[in-house]
């Protein structure tokens, strides 16, 4: 399946290669570089690139391209999903997945890649299994035979988790440890947790339960014909947050190309405007419902040029602690098979995904 893997950094250097079958020359990456040149943005490199003898399937994470070399038919998602799993594993092991971290831990990286694929077919991709085989660098490597360590029996724990309003959930996907039958029959999540952090379930709230978005935006952005000035006025406010604070608010927007500079005045937080990329970014912080944060001022436009006809969109990130705006609640958590009395806690947090406001 996966023949080889090349890691390429933002400046186009191949800084790691691994082959699971015969060695494929790194010159195969030239096709990737060609595609990269054709693409206007780094994320526009096609994930699948056919070359005369191979296919290159790549993902871009943390400004590193993970390029897998394939020789014959294989579901592209299979490779893509696997590459993302590799990145997740690196992140799990080294805290970050950067070129420096990978280079510093090159031996561990190599051992991981060796375990994750055998002859190009995934072998061990679960974090807990890998950690049994290869110790993360932070844990002191003992000279204990890692293999015998594996045979230790882990205490088996069942944790049925009851969610309060299962009708709310429109679409769910599970970690493989969840017993699907139990969920189907009783709407209880029963599972034996693997060690470490893991995502138990992802859910989508059905469209019947319209979730109120906890932030609203008032905007007034105008460009006048013939004038070299534009007006910019943006105010944020909280909505139905049940007294919880909207925090870590960050607004970013790509302003039209005609905008030369922006002279703005934030009521709180700091803003930056990059005149080259035209990227406006405003770090708002918390939203105080009594005193709504605003960003006002003028934009200077290219003299003589006609007014831009595109409207900027705003990407808004935020967090709300101790609240799930979907209304999802964990009803109870039971643990079986353990003798000690565990500490049980649940933390709710709402975090904006890809939230975009068109103007």
């Amino acid at each position: 399946m996966i023949h080889s893997l090349f890691l390429i950094n933002a400046s186009g250097d191949i800084f790691l290669e691994k082959h699971w079958k015969s060695v494929v020359s790194r010159s195969v990456c030239d096709y990737f570089f060609e595609a990269q040149e054709r693409a206007s943005e780094p994320e526009n490199v096609p994930p699948v690139i056919p070359t005369p003898h191979h296919y290159l399937i790549s993902v871009l994470r943390h400004r590193i391209y993970f390029v897998a070399v394939i020789q014959s038919e294989v579901p592209p998602l299979f490779v893509i999903e696997f590459l993302h799993r590799v990145v997740d594993t690196f992140q799990d092991y080294f805290g970050v997945c950067t070129e420096a971290a990978i280079k510093d831990n090159v031996v561990v990286v190599y051992e991981l890649l060796e375990e994750m694929l055998d002859n190009g077919f995934p072998l061990a991709t679960e974090s807990n299994i890998l950690k049994e085989l290869i110790k993360p660098p932070t844990i002191l490597r003992t000279m204990v035979n890692t293999i015998t360590g594996l045979l230790m029996l882990l205490p088996l724990r069942h944790s049925p988790l009851r969610t309060r309003n299962p009708r709310l959930l429109d679409d769910v996907s599970f970690h493989p440890c969840v017993r699907f039958k139990r969920w189907e029959a009783e709407r209880i999540l029963s599972f034996i947790p693997p060690d470490g952090n893991f995502r138990l379930l992802s859910y989508h709230v059905s469209s019947q339960n319209l979730v109120a978005i906890p932030v609203y935006v008032k905007h007034n952005i105008t460009f006048r014909e013939g004038s070299s000035q534009g007006r910019f006025d943006l105010t944020l406010g909280p909505k139905q947050t049940m007294g919880k604070v909207v925090e870590s608010v960050l607004v970013s927007s790509q302003l039209p190309r005609g905008v030369l500079n922006a002279n703005l005045n934030p009521s709180q937080g700091t803003y930056t405007f990059d005149p080259v990329t035209k990227l406006l970014s405003w770090d708002v912080g918390k939203i105080n419902p009594q005193k709504l944060p605003s960003l006002k001022g003028t934009m200077s436009l290219q003299a003589g040029a006609s007014k831009p006809d595109e409207n900027p969109t705003f990407n808004i990130q935020f967090k709300i602690q101790q609240m799930a705006i979907s209304g999802l609640k964990v009803n109870r958590l039971d643990m079986y098979g353990e003798k000690y009395k565990p500490f049980k806690g649940i933390k709710y947090m709402t975090k904006a995904g890809k939230f975009q406001v068109r103007t």
Partner: protein, 1026 residues
């Protein structure tokens, strides 16, 4: 030299302790590696480890470390596991280049293969099989064969992994490897399943026959296989199903093709009945749509797309839409597949229209794919929403995306006539856009749209003619010129002027524009030669000396055609017809049209070109191959299945092997409900294996079973002890099924009479398959006195069958006819209800050649007549069986009963309860199915039970008499549940009777056929209250 320099620097950075080597690269590496060699030769493990780490770092960076081979290979037997692991890494990388030296290491691995520790055995095999040295092929072959029968499933998994390695090294080993694959395919552990199917796909994907016997097992294991194995298995099973089952949509597709012929073909063809194995695959893959792994979700989605009946494909939409919230690469692949799907099954994604709206931050390639999907989803009802959305997109800063949006608007306009003018107007407005690319794209699209109704839009053509002064994009200029030429009669004044301007700029134009200028000139010459003769000749003269030979050719060709000379041939007479023929408007098609001839989710589908190693998705067979090839005889204890399941062993990875896990808590938890699924399936196999229902085959399998039972008894006991909550559901149904047997005893004789104990019926297998109940049935069978007489059919008590009168003695002039619904499967056609007809000749004379005639039926209904009954004496009786397909309705079947002298008009109307047959399911399945039949499909009535039927037994009897349903095991004694499927469409019918205090009860019927549901409620209500 520059390269060498680079190496120097990076080497220096990572190894600052080293002295700077000399400049010549070859020399430097030889000298530099000396210290590494020294370290490897030392006695200290720490030094060796340090050296190996550096070497691995070199390999990782793509540096050549092959000269260290002799020094490294010596350490292959090193005791230190850390060093050993890195030596293995090195060995696998360089063995191919240093074949002779690599052989030195082989003996170490051969020793490792015999190690008592399964992990060492596995790792030895893994490295040995990764060494690509042809000379060791026989050793590898031997090792693989041995490992394939290793007791550790992990070692067997490694053996499966080694198969494709050996195959790529030496394809001549194929036959031997297939034997190993065959052996491993029969393995019952989830750990091996994915890996061996992978090997199958790489070595012998054409050997579909190897799958037959393992098909059901693979389906049942699937949910517990690790994610990557699931993908491979699902893709393989998709192909398998395409060769073994019938197209579930065959009737629908015919409808589309030919509505008239439909009636004829329908009558000829047997109605479609889904093979239970086909259903099994669909049912067992469905839960995997909830996997967190995008590749698994995609695999199931393509399986449903290619294999499921139309009505069921919809479930995949939601899961695919979920994947759109994942990484952009995942989105990219999913959207390509959704784009293909939306062409064939638009309705499926329509509810998710908004999920395809485009964010300004999406990468362009994602935007364009979403646009494609939105365009495919556009129809009369949603087009205004979509166009409004498109309007926003046109203002985007991403110009490639804007161009794609304009194309999309064009496609919507051609596909949906209602909005054509709106779109055209919108596009015309874009002609005054400031961005030239936008204008150019609009021109191209408008040109295509105008071709549909040119006469209505001459003002737009005029408007576009003016654009030639400003617009520079060649494609757009060419489009405008073509338009003017084609419709020059609509713009008679402007056209010659445009040609004049173009003649002036001819030499500076791009080739495509030049060709269109020549075209324009030719067309004008033919329609308006007075004004344009000279201009045309001028243009043709310019073209004659053009650098491009296409243009020179075109000019020569056109001159010969349009300018009459004495030499010009017969063709010039037809010049006008040639140039100004009515041209069909272009069809704006999705580039994803017909891409589904590639298996969805595949690389080939994504590239729209066959990738190496792609296995064609076969067409459905005309007639289904023999389904019995998938039957398996039960030999060994099926309990072993599922003891090692992926999810329960978690980190353990099943490494303990069954022998270590037995009795431990691990085993008990491993016996999740999934284990129960494996049991009945094998039970059903043995049942259907006894085709004729003969005594000996029954007893044969029984002795097997009893052996198996004694084997698994111990295990079961422990199971029950340690897992108390399991005990309850296990015990209860046993009691229940005992009661069933008492009930069915009464009807035994009747069945013997009817002679319908034949088990050669697919429906039968489906019924008996995969329900826990059949297991209980089996256990009670061993204790009861009448083995062999039961078939699972009799579990449904068919106590006294009610007889209905068909022909009264008096009207029949001595011939009296009664009929009853025998509740047996009708062998010639599973979709028919069996009607047993009982004739009594009360007259004094003989009756001869009794037969049916003149059958009058409602549309869709079918009758299988009983064979003619010859002569029979006065006072004699006769019985015959006929089959009627009532189409799941209580319509009457009218026909004539004819004797040699008389004809009688008679009719049969079924009670609704006879339109179904029992269906066995577990409590969980029942609940799940019930959950899906809510709302309109659920009917609930409150009732007060008749005094006589206030106990469970009576309720069961009343309900099963009223309707041909089977009891579903139930944990609560307050509820009785019944399940069945309608005979024609196999729609589920679920009945629940919940009892409360003092005879109060609630009756719930869930059925997607609402009419059936309503009628059934009435009938059961009547039965329970009287």
């Amino acid at each position: 030299a520059e390269n060498g320099e680079k190496i120097d620097k990076s080497e220096q950075l990572s190894f600052p302790e080293e002295t700077r080597p000399c400049v010549i690269p070859g020399c430097f590496s030889a000298r530099r590696h000396d210290d590494l060699k020294e370290m490897l030769d030392s006695n200290k493990d720490s030094l060796k480890l340090e050296a190996m780490k550096r070497i691995v770092a070199m390999i990782a960076r793509g540096k050549n470390a092959s000269d260290l081979f002799p020094a490294v290979v010596k350490n292959v037997a090193c005791k230190n596991i850390e060093v050993k692991k890195l030596v293995y890494v090195y060995l696998v990388r360089y063995a191919e280049e240093q074949q002779d030296l690599a052989l030195l290491s082989i003996s170490t691995f051969q020793r490792g293969l015999k190690d008592p520790n399964q992990l060492i055995r596995a790792s030895a095999l893994r490295v040995l099989s990764s060494i690509r040295v042809t000379i060791i092929v026989p050793i590898m072959m031997l090792a693989i064969k041995e490992a394939a029968s290793d007791m550790s499933p992990y070692v067997r998994k490694t053996a499966a992994h080694a198969i494709p390695k050996l195959y790529s090294l030496d394809p001549e080993q194929k036959d031997q490897l297939i034997e190993v694959i065959e052996k491993l395919l029969a393995d019952k552990t989830t750990l091996v399943a994915g890996s061996v199917v992978m090997a199958f796909e790489e070595v012998c994907p054409e050997r579909i026959d190897l799958i037959h016997k393992n098909y059901r097992k693979l389906c049942n294991l699937l949910i517990d296989v690790e994610e990557w194995g699931q993908v491979v298995i699902i893709n393989m099973l998709t192909r398998y199903a395409r060769t073994q089952f019938l197209n579930p949509n065959i009737n629908d597709e015919d409808e589309e093709k030919d509505k008239k012929a439909e009636a004829v073909t329908m009558a000829k063809r047997k109605p479609y009945v889904m093979d239970p194995d086909h259903r099994l695959l669909l049912r067992n893959t469905k839960p995997l749509l909830q996997s967190r792994n995008a590749a698994v979700v995609m695999a199931v989605a393509q399986l449903y797309f290619h294999l499921a009946p139309k009505a069921e494909v919809g479930v995949i939409a939601k899961a695919l839409v979920r994947l759109l919230r994942s990484h952009s690469e995942v989105q990219y692949v999913v959207l390509q597949n959704v784009a293909t799907m939306t062409i064939k099954r638009r309705g499926m994604f329509e509810p998710y229209l908004k999920s395809f709206y485009i964010r300004s931050t999406d990468p362009t390639q994602i935007k364009i794919l979403k646009l494609e999907v939105l365009t495919n989803l556009a129809n009369e009802t949603n087009i205004s929403t979509i166009l409004r959305e498109f309007q926003t997109y046109i203002k985007s800063m991403d110009k490639d995306f804007v161009a794609a949006t304009i194309q999309a608007i064009g496609r919507c306009a051609t596909n949906i006539g209602e909005v054509r003018d709106t779109c055209l107007n919108g596009l015309v407005q874009l002609l005054s856009n400031r961005d030239e690319l936008v204008v150019a794209e609009s021109v191209v699209v408008i040109k295509k749209l105008l071709q549909m109704q040119p006469e209505k839009h001459s003002d737009i053509i005029k408007h576009m003619a003016k654009l030639t002064d400003n617009i520079q994009v060649p494609m757009a200029r060419a489009s405008i010129l073509w338009l003017i030429g084609e419709y020059c009669e609509h713009v008679p004044k402007i056209a010659p002027d445009v040609l004049r301007k173009m003649a002036k700029s001819f030499t500076n134009e791009e080739d495509i524009v030049k060709l269109q200028i020549i075209n324009l000139a030719a067309k004008l010459y033919l329609t308006n030669s007075k004004q344009t003769k000279l201009l045309t000749q001028y243009v043709l003269n310019l073209a004659k000396y053009d650098q491009n030979y296409d243009i020179r050719d075109r000019a020569r060709f056109i001159r010969q055609l349009i300018v009459p000379t004495e030499k010009s041939g017969a063709l010039s007479k037809y010049a006008k017809k040639l140039f100004l023929a009515l041209k069909p408007a272009p069809v704006l098609e999705s580039p994803f049209k017909d891409r589904d001839h590639f298996q969805l989710g595949s690389l080939s589908h994504l590239l729209n070109a066959k990738a190496g190693g792609y296995q064609e998705l076969p067409d459905w067979p005309e007639a289904a191959p023999d389904p019995s090839v998938r039957n398996v005889e039960v030999k060994e204890s099926v309990r072993a299945v599922g003891t090692v399941t992926y999810r329960d062993t978690g980190a353990l990875w099943g490494l303990q092997g069954p022998q270590k896990m037995e009795g431990s808590e691990g085993l008990c938890s491993a016996l999740t409900p999934t284990t129960h699924c494996h049991l009945p399936s094998s039970e059903s196999d043995s049942a259907s294996g006894s085709e004729s229902g003969s005594e000996d085959s029954r007893s044969g399998s029984e002795s097997d079973e009893s052996k198996e039972a004694s084997e698994s008894e111990e295990e079961e006991e422990e199971d029950l002890k340690t897992k108390k909550n399991k005990e309850k559901p296990l015990k209860k149904p046993v009691q229940e099924s005992e009661r069933y047997i008492v009930l069915s005893n009464s009807s035994q004789q009747r069945e013997g009479e009817a002679g319908f104990l034949c088990t050669n019926d697919p429906q039968f297998r489906m019924n008996s398959c995969r329900s826990a109940e059949t297991v209980f049935y089996k256990t009670t069978q061993q204790t009861s006195d009448s083995p062999g007489l039961f078939s699972p059919q009799t579990i449904a008590p068919s106590s006294a069958l009610k007889s209905y009168e068909l022909l009264h003695r008096i009207t029949g002039e001595g011939l009296s006819v009664e009929y009853c619904f025998s509740r047996q499967p009708f062998i010639p056609d599973a979709n028919m209800v069996a009607v047993q007809v009982h004739f009594t000749n009360n007259s004094t004379s003989d009756t001869k050649s009794l037969h049916m005639d003149d059958v009058k039926l409602q549309s869709g209904m079918r009758v299988k007549e009983f064979p003619e009954i010859g002569a029979w004496d006065p006072e004699d009786t006769a019985t015959a069986v006929m089959g009627i397909d009532f189409c799941d309705s209580t319509q009457t079947a009218n026909f004539q009963l004819c004797t040699h002298t008389r004809k009688f008009f008679v009719s049969i109307q079924p009670p609704v309860g006879e339109l179904m047959r029992p269906f066995f399911m577990t409590e969980n399945e029942f609940k799940k199915e019930q959950g899906q039949l809510m709302g309109m499909n659920e009917i609930t009535e409150k009732l007060t039970l008749d005094v006589k039927c206030r106990n469970e037994h009576a309720i069961v009897q009343k309900v099963t008499t009223a309707a041909n349903l089977s009891r579903v095991p139930c944990g609560s004694d307050k509820e009785c549940r019944f399940a069945g499927r309608t005979v024609t469409s196999s729609s589920l019918v679920l009945v629940t009777v919940a009892t409360k205090d003092q005879g109060a009860a609630q009756l719930t019927v869930n059925c997607e056929k609402m009419v059936i549901g309503t009628m059934l409620v009435k009938d059961i209500l009547l039965a329970l209250t009287q």
